[in-house]
């Protein structure tokens, strides 16, 4: 299963904010069990989409040198269910970015209606310690996520180009 819960970045402002889109399809596995006869997207996966949008935003701010891991969700609120056919817009902005980690604020809207909001706190896995555990390989930004990163960079560049006079 591909663990990617956003489809594409729409805008990407390095070190500041990002907007991503997720189109929900009834073909997605989670709808089978959650729930039989009443398929709604699990709130945890909505949060995962926000975390991926925010995680890539935070990772890009440090040129993906840091291993960005989700450390804590201090606050999350889910206001409405998300159904197959919905288009979820993930908006994330960086509240604070530091050497040790970052915190972001995010919201999810469908057709302009707020359906969820959360604050997410990322830690930069201590480089010296993580090297002992995992070696030099950056296991966070690898494989499929890395591909998204490439797309994120393209989005960043195109939004820069678009804002250029």
């Amino acid at each position: 299963m591909r663990w990617i819960w956003i489809d594409r970045f729409l805008t990407f402002e390095s070190g500041k904010s990002a907007r991503a889109v997720k189109n929900l399809s009834l073909a997605e596995d989670h709808f089978r069990e959650h729930f039989p006869g009443y398929p709604v997207m699990p709130a945890s996966l909505m949060l995962e989409g926000l975390a991926q949008t925010g995680g890539i935003l935070v990772g890009e701010a440090n040129q993906f040198r840091e291993k960005v891991v989700l450390a804590k969700v201090p606050y999350a609120r889910f206001l409405q269910e998300a159904f197959a056919g919905d288009q979820l817009i993930y908006d994330v902005e960086i509240l604070l970015l530091r050497m040790e980690g970052a915190s972001v604020k995010g919201k999810i809207t469908v057709d302009g209606v707020l359906i969820a909001e959360a604050e997410i706190f990322f830690a930069h896995l201590d480089r010296s310690r993580s090297r002992q555990l995992f070696g030099d390989h950056n296991f966070v930004f690898s494989g499929e996520l890395k591909h998204l990163l490439g797309l994120a960079k393209v989005a960043a560049k195109s939004s820069q180009d678009a804002s250029a006079p």
Partner: protein, 137 residues
């Protein structure tokens, strides 16, 4: 410059948000770990929130010194902090209240120094500019 009371109120609000505790659980003497259930990652979250709330920069290890001793036998012996260790702690955390800790300076009790009041006093000292210069900790 905010008053002592304003600082305390803001610190309390910060802790309510960071630790998801009720406001009435926050007392000056409440310990972050023991009474309010803070875990290691919460300390970083608290630091981030205080920076935002007060518009200050908190260098790593200044408010919550990490691994102060790292097993240095001059500073720790038989699970207790030595006189030298206590002096070191006092220098690094002039804003902490050592009254209870001095009587039984067990290493495990260091976390009890981290109280709501300690954070408020740290912020006060930080805003007044009376903190010692950062060490190489």
């Amino acid at each position: 410059m905010p008053s002592q009371e304003e600082i305390y109120t803001k610190v309390s609000e910060t802790l309510v948000e960071a630790l998801n505790v009720d406001e009435d659980e926050i007392k000056p003497s409440a310990t972050l770990q023991g009474d309010l259930g803070a875990e290691s990652i919460d300390f970083l979250d608290i630091v981030f929130r205080l920076e935002r709330e007060f518009g200050i920069k908190i260098p790593r290890g200044e408010l919550f010194p990490e691994s102060i001793f790292q097993g240095d036998p001059d500073l720790i012996q038989d699970g207790k902090v030595t006189h030298k260790g206590l002096d070191e702690l006092r220098t690094k955390m002039p804003f902490a209240d050592f009254t209870g800790f001095e009587k039984n300076p067990e290493v495990n009790a260091i976390s009890d120094l981290f109280t709501v009041d300690m954070i408020a006093r740290y912020i006060q000292a930080k805003l007044n500019g009376t903190l010692p210069p950062p060490s190489d900790n």
